[in-house]
């Protein structure tokens, strides 16, 4: 009984530690990625929506008003477009007749 309680407390502590680690990762990760780029200067850019129409206008407006949603869209669209292009190129390359599933590793 005592042992089970001790195990339970250990499990809770491990979960708490994991939770704390995840939170700190979430908080620190943007800084880590930023560290890989050049030093940023304070910059406020407003997209000029006067000469835009349709979807371009929607994204320019989003950029001006809701940066978080814009960032989510940017990542999702980049990933989706990358995947679409990947599958499309895969389809086209498969028609060349080349063997695209095996290769021989030779170093020298």
């Amino acid at each position: 009984m005592l042992r089970a309680k001790r195990m339970g407390s250990l499990g809770r502590r491990a979960l708490q530690a994991l939770g704390a680690w995840c939170v700190s990762l979430w908080l620190l990760a943007p800084d880590w990625v930023w560290a890989a780029g050049e030093k940023a200067t304070n910059l406020v850019v407003v997209a000029d929506t006067r000469r835009l129409t349709g979807i371009m206008k929607y994204f320019a407006n989003l950029y001006n008003t809701n940066t978080l949603l814009f960032a989510i869209w940017a990542v999702v669209l980049t990933a989706v477009y990358g995947a679409i292009l990947g599958f499309l190129m895969d389809f086209l390359m498969a028609r060349t007749g080349l063997d695209l599933k095996s290769r021989k590793i030779v170093e020298h």
């Binding site: 890989a36 940066t67 960032a71 060349t96 695209l100 170093e107």
Partner: protein, 346 residues
């Protein structure tokens, strides 16, 4: 000729879009062949085309994520991506980048950080360049002497063999890469490369690819694929954070990605027809070009520095395209001959 220019709604500039496609294509070829993001090549190119520097970095980051995704998909089909190794290394890389960034902040407080960082970068690029060419020299000498070790052929530098002797648990077997080592080895190496990347303010593919080969013991082709997988993850996160700061031009990303999709296929398929040492030597040449361009920039020869980078991209992507086309033509000829022989026998 107005149709050759495209308005970038967020950056508010008009850009010669075939230039964007060409940059995307060339860096796609190089990235697929070498397994790196190539930010050091794209950013000056975008800047020359007229992108403000603030947008060049973020746009470049998002384009790298998409391009690496396309290349990783192709490399994965070839069996060139060790996902287990990639995930383990992501951990070390991220922690290393943070420590590197802290180091830069400490140096900033002391002053003169930019010059120190630039010269450390030059030093490391010189070291990598030397390592690659010395390795090739050593391997060639061994081959001439008839010393062939292992199933992959003759190798020059084999530091990874010594590092594989470290038996600190847990020991992990990497199926795709084909070796077993202490989990602390890839974590330690990725921590070091991440630390340098954070310190130098670069993506890190330039350091990670040779580290995977020489310190971890990955065959070159698998080092390329696994590194691209890591570039994809960090690139997507980078794209998110740069978007949050409003430093991204989505239209530019999509135009570049279109060119990169074709380039990435060429670069990735070309690895099939290239020997590991061929990839290493071409990579070494790019590293030396990058090093010289930084030295030129340090002495304010900015135009010459950008010219050198763009010239290297042009020449190297042409060279890789030729490898791919020659190899593909040879493979198709062989396939046709085999089919004819089978038909004749039947």
């Amino acid at each position: 000729m107005d149709w050759l220019y495209l308005y970038m709604p967020i950056a508010g500039v008009t850009i010669f879009w075939p230039g964007l496609v060409l940059i995307g294509f060339s860096v796609g070829v190089l990235g697929g062949f070498f397994g790196m993001g190539g930010a050091w090549m794209v950013t000056p190119g975008l800047n020359i085309l007229g992108f403000p520097m603030a947008f060049a970095i973020g746009t470049d980051m998002a384009h790298i994520a998409g391009k690496s995704m396309i290349s990783t998909m192709r490399h994965s089909k070839f069996g060139n991506v060790d996902y287990k190794l990639g995930f383990i290394m992501v951990l070390g890389t991220f922690i290393g980048i943070e420590v590197g960034a802290q180091l830069v902040m400490y140096l900033e407080r002391l002053g003169k950080v930019e010059s120190i960082v630039r010269w450390v970068y030059v030093g490391f690029l010189a070291l990598i360049g030397w390592m690659i060419f010395y390795d090739y020299y050593k391997a060639t000498r061994k081959k001439k002497m008839g010393l062939v070790e292992g199933e992959k052929g003759t190798e020059g530098i084999t530091w990874y063999k010594t590092l594989h002797k470290i038996k600190i648990p847990p020991m992990v077997h990497f199926n795709t890469a084909g070796f077993t080592c202490s989990m602390w080895l890839p974590i330690g190496v990725s921590f070091m490369t991440g630390l340098l990347a954070g310190f130098l303010g670069i993506g890190g593919g330039l350091l990670r690819m040779p580290a995977l080969v020489y310190l971890i013991g990955c065959p070159t082709h698998i080092a390329v694929g696994t590194d691209l997988f890591e570039v994809m993850i960090s690139g997507l996160y980078g794209a998110f954070t740069y978007s949050l700061k409003g430093r991204i031009e989505l239209v530019g990303v999509f135009v570049m990605l279109t060119g990169a999709a074709i380039g990435a296929q060429i670069g990735t398929v070309a690895t099939k027809y290239a020997k590991g040492y061929g990839i290493r030597l071409a990579f070494g040449t790019c590293v030396v070009a990058c090093m010289v361009s930084i030295v030129l920039k340090e002495f304010s020869f900015t135009a010459l520095s950008a010219g050198l980078i763009l010239g290297t991209i042009g020449l190297m992507s042409t060279y890789i395209t030729v490898i791919m086309l020659k190899g593909a033509a040879y493979e198709l000829r062989e396939k046709k001959a085999r089919e004819k022989a089978v038909a004749r026998a039947a």
